[in-house]
């Protein structure tokens, strides 16, 4: 006896606007801990080191819309682990994450943006400069940031500890994607 269960079907939540967003950045810039407090997910962090991606989602209010951001947290691109570019396919936007205390990660973010533009074309993105709670240790040149802002970059100083800037960054990115 093979029966369809249509009559007793469980209805999934009503349709919502979905956006795939990738989160990129160097190793140990705090990407994962940055979003841990704000996202709902079912997968463990070990996915990052095995499959190279961890997927979470987050409901974001933007432009009077409720958007479900499906966040692809990509493993850092460095000498230990290669970022899998295929994971970026189909992303509507992305988050660049850098560590304010490590200048190399800032440069890497900038480089990533260029690579992304080549790979996906121009896509909405925001830059999160993390570890704002340790601002005294920051190696960022204010001029560098100003240069980027001048080029139209949206930059947020965030802290995984205090949660500073995270919501704003998501709202901004979502708003940009809805344009």
């Amino acid at each position: 006896m093979v029966l369809p269960q249509a009559q007793l079907l469980q209805r999934p939540s009503p349709a919502m606007l979905l956006k795939k967003v990738c989160m990129l950045g160097s190793f140990a810039v705090g990407k994962t801990s940055l979003v841990r407090r704000y996202v709902g997910g079912i997968f463990s962090d070990t996915y990052l080191t095995t499959v190279g991606v961890k997927i979470d989602n987050k409901i974001v209010q933007a432009r009077e819309n409720e958007v479900k951001v499906v966040l692809w947290d990509l493993a850092g691109d460095d000498e230990f682990q290669k970022m899998r570019w295929t994971y970026l396919r189909g992303a509507f936007g992305y988050l660049l994450v850098a560590d304010g205390t490590r200048a190399a990660t800032l440069a890497k973010a900038e480089a990533l943006e260029q690579e992304m533009r080549q790979e996906l074309g121009a896509k909405p993105f925001v830059l999160l400069i993390n570890k704002s709670d340790r601002r005294s240790e920051w190696e960022m040149e204010p001029a560098w940031q100003e240069g980027l802002v001048a080029r139209g970059w949206d930059i947020f100083h965030t802290s995984a500890k205090t949660g500073e800037g995270v919501e704003k960054a998501f709202s901004k990115l979502t708003a940009k994607m809805l344009l």
């Binding site: 007793l8 979905l18 992303a91």
Partner: protein, 604 residues
């Protein structure tokens, strides 16, 4: 856009109408000749375009065809979308004005739909109830209860998991490029994860595997096994269909998935291509996905122990029925046998019962009755199964009376003893002696009320009659004037002698006193005075001869009658010769003593 009041091509003409009327008259005429038909057409067309009534009429003529054409060209979605608000509003308005109209229209549809829904709900309720009842009392049921307690799942869920062959728990339609779920269907009572996460991870894993093993672009991971779960993936140009299955589905399920995915691609290809995160248009695809949520229960196995019990019970029943039928059949046979005994003359069954595996038969038996043991054997019954207890008695049945009479009277061959209602009736031929014996002794037999000898022929009497007639017809002729028989007739006399002796013997048996008159005759020639002595001499001569040959003298008398009793009329010599003779007359049949009832009396 503002419209000119007059058609544009008329503008340069109009001013000329007033000013140049001189040579303009012919021009006007020419113009009229050339342009008049077009102008009329134009006026007609303008009328047609501007007149709202006319436009409506025109449109109404082609509206159904237009809608039909649009549907054929595949624009039904847009058409549906365009008509939807109007139709919805119309329905709302209809309900507001008079709910009865719509209710009447829907009536034939609603009844069956409601009934089906109720039936379905009841059926699924009873199914799960039955399943739960089946399992709750068994050893396995207890194990499952423990499992339910241990895992924190509901008992019914545990039952479901154990009694399923397979169940498609979730079906995802995943946009290939973004990894976002376009549609998602979940079976009842399945813990539902966030579809976007699962979809994303599934596509990530697809990418991961493809990258890691450098497989060709189009190839995908078709199946993922995780413990008792399987994820089947079907690939399409814009989307993949992923089914999360518990257990092992039939192989043709993949075909069903492929068909579903193809169908979805036919309907939603453009939406999928342009997908920007809005899953709204794919709501209808969810219905199709839900049709893929198949499941199959295990055939009931719990009936195994029960079926053994059933088989055992069946065997016992069959054995019991067999034994019972055998006993019934045996009882029937014995009953029939006892009936046979009862019908048997000389046997009276007074008691018949089964004791300690044997049939005890009690009654009365005439010693002359048939042997019950022999009857038992001829009925095909085992002698060891029976115990007879007979008391002797004299039966009065005719058949037994016949036997008893036969035993006593020993009828000679040719005699058949018949007894009817106690009356003994011998049939056939027997001697007088035997007949007398029957007459004397038969009444002494128990049960014989009388003797009827009418059907018995007395052989002694018959012999007597034969001899008597033989003797009485004998003629011993003598030559003329002679008292010595012719040698030929002397021989006749000699032959007659033993017969006369037998006659006397038979007479004695028949208790008759017989006398033989020897009558001497002469012909009529000659004188009577000589003929009388001659005839007497002739008679004496025969008497002498018989006496000499051993016939008792006392029973013989001789007399001469001369020609007084001629044998024949003397017409010729031969007749005269017959008259010169001696004849015999047997007479005086007086009984010696007693009567000879039943026996045929001898007639002279």
């Amino acid at each position: 856009m503002p419209m000119p009041e007059e058609p544009i091509f008329r503008l340069p003409l109009d001013p000329d109408e007033e000013v140049s009327s001189g040579n303009g008259g012919s021009f006007e005429e020419l113009r009229h000749l050339i342009l008049a038909p077009e102008q009329e057409d134009l006026a007609r067309l303008r009328e047609r375009v501007e007149n709202a009534e006319q436009r409506t009429s025109d449109l109404s003529a082609v509206l159904p065809e237009a809608i039909h054409l649009r549907r054929q060209e595949g624009g039904e979605e847009a058409l549906g979308e365009a008509l939807r608000p109007t139709v919805e509003e119309a329905l709302r308005e209809s309900v507001r004005k008079d709910p009865g109209t719509l209710a009447d229209a829907l009536f034939p549809v609603m009844g069956p739909a409601i009934r089906r829904s109720i039936l379905q709900t009841l059926r699924s309720f009873f199914d799960s109830f039955n399943e739960a009842m089946d399992h709750s009392l068994s050893l396995r049921g207890v194990q499952w209860r423990i499992e339910a307690l241990r895992t924190g799942r509901s008992f019914s869920e545990i039952i479901l998991l154990h009694s399923l062959v397979f169940r498609v728990e979730q079906v995802f339609l995943i946009h290939k490029k973004t990894g976002l779920p376009l549609a998602h269907a979940v079976a009842p009572a399945v813990a539902m994860q966030d579809a976007s996460l699962v979809s994303g991870m599934l596509s990530a894993i697809q990418d991961f595997v493809r990258d890691s093993f450098h497989s060709a672009k189009g190839e995908i991971l078709q199946k993922i096994n995780v413990g008792e779960m399987e994820v089947w993936v079907e690939d399409g140009p814009y989307a993949i269909l992923a089914a999360v299955i518990r257990g092992i589905p039939p192989p043709d399920y993949r075909l069903r998935m492929a068909e579903t995915l193809e169908h979805i691609h036919r309907n939603f290809a453009s939406q999928m291509e342009r997908f920007q995160g809005d899953t709204g248009p794919f709501a209808r695809a969810t219905e199709e996905l839900s049709r893929c949520l198949e499941f199959q229960y295990k055939e009931k196995q719990s009936s195994h122990p029960r079926s053994y019990a059933l088989v055992f019970a069946g065997v016992v029943l069959v054995l019991l029925a067999g034994w019972w039928s055998y006993r019934a059949w045996e009882n029937h046979r014995w009953g029939q046998f006892v009936e046979t005994l009862r019908g048997e003359p000389g046997l009276v069954v007074t008691d018949f019962e089964r004791q300690h595996g044997r049939y005890e038969i009690r009654g009365l038996r005439d010693p002359l009755a048939a042997d019950p043991q022999t009857l038992l054997s001829s009925a095909g019954l085992d002698q060891r199964d029976a115990a007879f207890h007979w008391a002797p008695y004299y039966a009065m049945d005719d058949a037994i009376l016949e036997k008893r009479a036969s035993a006593l009277l020993r009828p000679p061959s040719g005699v058949n003893l018949k007894v009817t209602d106690g009356m003994l009736r011998p049939e056939g031929e027997a001697s007088t002696v035997w007949a007398a014996e029957v007459r004397d002794r038969a009444p002494l037999l128990p049960g014989i009320r009388g003797v009827d000898l009418s059907q018995l022929t007395d052989t002694d009497q018959a012999e007597f009659n034969r001899l008597q007639s033989l003797v009485q017809t004998a003629i011993i002729r003598f030559p003329l004037s002679s008292a010595t028989p012719t040698p030929e007739d002397l021989e006749t006399l000699r032959r007659l002698t033993p017969q006369i002796k037998s006659l006397f013997e038979k007479a004695q048996l028949l208790r008759k006193n017989v006398e033989v008159d020897i009558v001497g005759h002469s012909d009529s020639s000659g004188e009577e005075s000589t003929n009388i002595p001659l005839s007497q001499s002739r008679a004496d001569r025969v008497l002498y001869q018989l006496t000499r040959d051993g016939v008792a003298r006392v029973a013989l008398r001789s007399r001469g009658v001369a020609s007084a009793e001629p044998l024949r009329k003397e017409e010729n010599e031969e007749a005269r010769q017959y008259n010169r003779s001696v004849t015999f007359r047997i007479s005086a049949v007086a009984p010696l003593h007693g009567s000879s009832a039943g026996a045929t009396p001898a007639t002279p």
